[in-house]
Amino acid sequence: MTPFWRRLGDAAFALLPTLPYARPEKQACGGEAVVARGLSAGARPDGPAAFVGADFSIPCGCRTALIGPNGSGKSTLLRVLAGLVPPQAGEVLVAGAPPAPGRSRIAYLAQRPQLTEGFPLRLRRLVQMGTYAHHGWFEECRHGEAAVDGALARLGLTELADRPAHALSGGQLQRALLARALVQGAEVLLLDEPYAALDAASREIVERFLFDQGHAFTVLMATHDPADLARFDRILELRAGAVRTRHACSGHDHRHA
């Protein structure tokens, strides 16, 4: 028996049309996941440039490490690809289109996620926010329950689903944000030093998620750990304002192997 106030609340939605946040993306990722030509950008659109005239590409399904000293612009590059910072010059395509708000096929994890402290929210709800990419304005969050359950299980969070988000450890939170990206249906994962907050157990789960899934994702991960680089197919190095590519991979070979 649904209480009357809930039925009243649900009836409110019937009065309004559903509007998508952004135009839905249909075309699947094929060929190059990221293409940058003459790309220049800085932390602020009107500030000094962190790198100038970068040319590089990342094939679909390729795991790429992004390395470089502190302050070389790794975070800026990831934020440009996520669509949070506009490039100062040049052009960039991610999953076939310029990055912009509302691109559900791009997911970005900040080094230190800026979440409101003490916000009353259970972990399951946090992961469910990924399904908003497939909802729109004036729409109750209805579909995607199975995807949320699957993502929670894949990142080892099923038992923690009812935990308040602010009571999670750094590693658990990082896994929850990855689960949210999975639910969102992202194909390109932009990760800014995700291992920094992880304990050994969380790190193992995250590595399995990123590297052992038959190359379902294209990953670009900023990292400082030299021991880690062997796992990646390709390395992008940012140094003194330039981007260099070290040993390439062909994503399609991995994808269909």
């Binding site: 409101t116 003490g118 009353p120």
Partner: protein, 270 residues
Amino acid sequence: MLDLLLEPLAEPFFVRALLAVALGGVTCACLGAYVVLRRMAFVSTALTHSILPGVVGALLLGFSPYVGALAAALLTAAGAAWLAARKGASEDSAIGVMLSVMFAAGVALMQQANSWRDFAGLLFGSVVAVGEADLRTIALTAAGVLFGLRVLHKELELAAFDEEYATLLGARPGLMRVVLLALVALGAVACVRLVGALLTTALFVIPAATGVLLGRTVPQVMAWGVGCALAGGVAGLYLSYHLPAVPSGAGIVLCCALPYLLARLFAPRR
């Protein structure tokens, strides 16, 4: 004992006051959840104080006080946003400037109108003076605000919790902040008759702060806040009915503070 509760219900003004407090309390408690969670208590104080020049100005110029109050509240929100937009300016001080400037303008206008006594109800509330027309306005505003909160719940929650992710999804967190401010302005204008321009912010902050201590999700925070506002509002009305020395607005706010104190003392640690 029962007489103490039933006797006031025979008075039509008391029944109207009860209805007005219930409607206003529910509206402010639900809005307050976002106000408290987004740490916007100071903005809500500025909006409620700026109602004073709006209402006085409207009375001087001869149009509806609700329209004047709403215009003044929106002017405050826009002014604070504009002052804070300058690089290096803090939002805190911008809000402080707008709050005091608007309130001083209100005091100056009251002098112009040449009557402090008429405006005592505006400053401190006079819920017993709520008439049929006021009640209709409060009910309509409450319905509108609650409707807005319901249909935008998932976007408002997302923008309050993780602004960057809201940007990435295209869910417009900046717009959501403006919508929330507009809803707070609407709610404040509706509730100014209950507890007055100086105390309306209490209806946003105290019940929701109680809810934050007790609730583990946003709807739970709202539910606890609504309970606190209803209990405090009704108790405050009875208090001021039986103790005429206590004005109704002050009684309501003091009675809302009691559940907050209890929650602070006895709520389990989250």
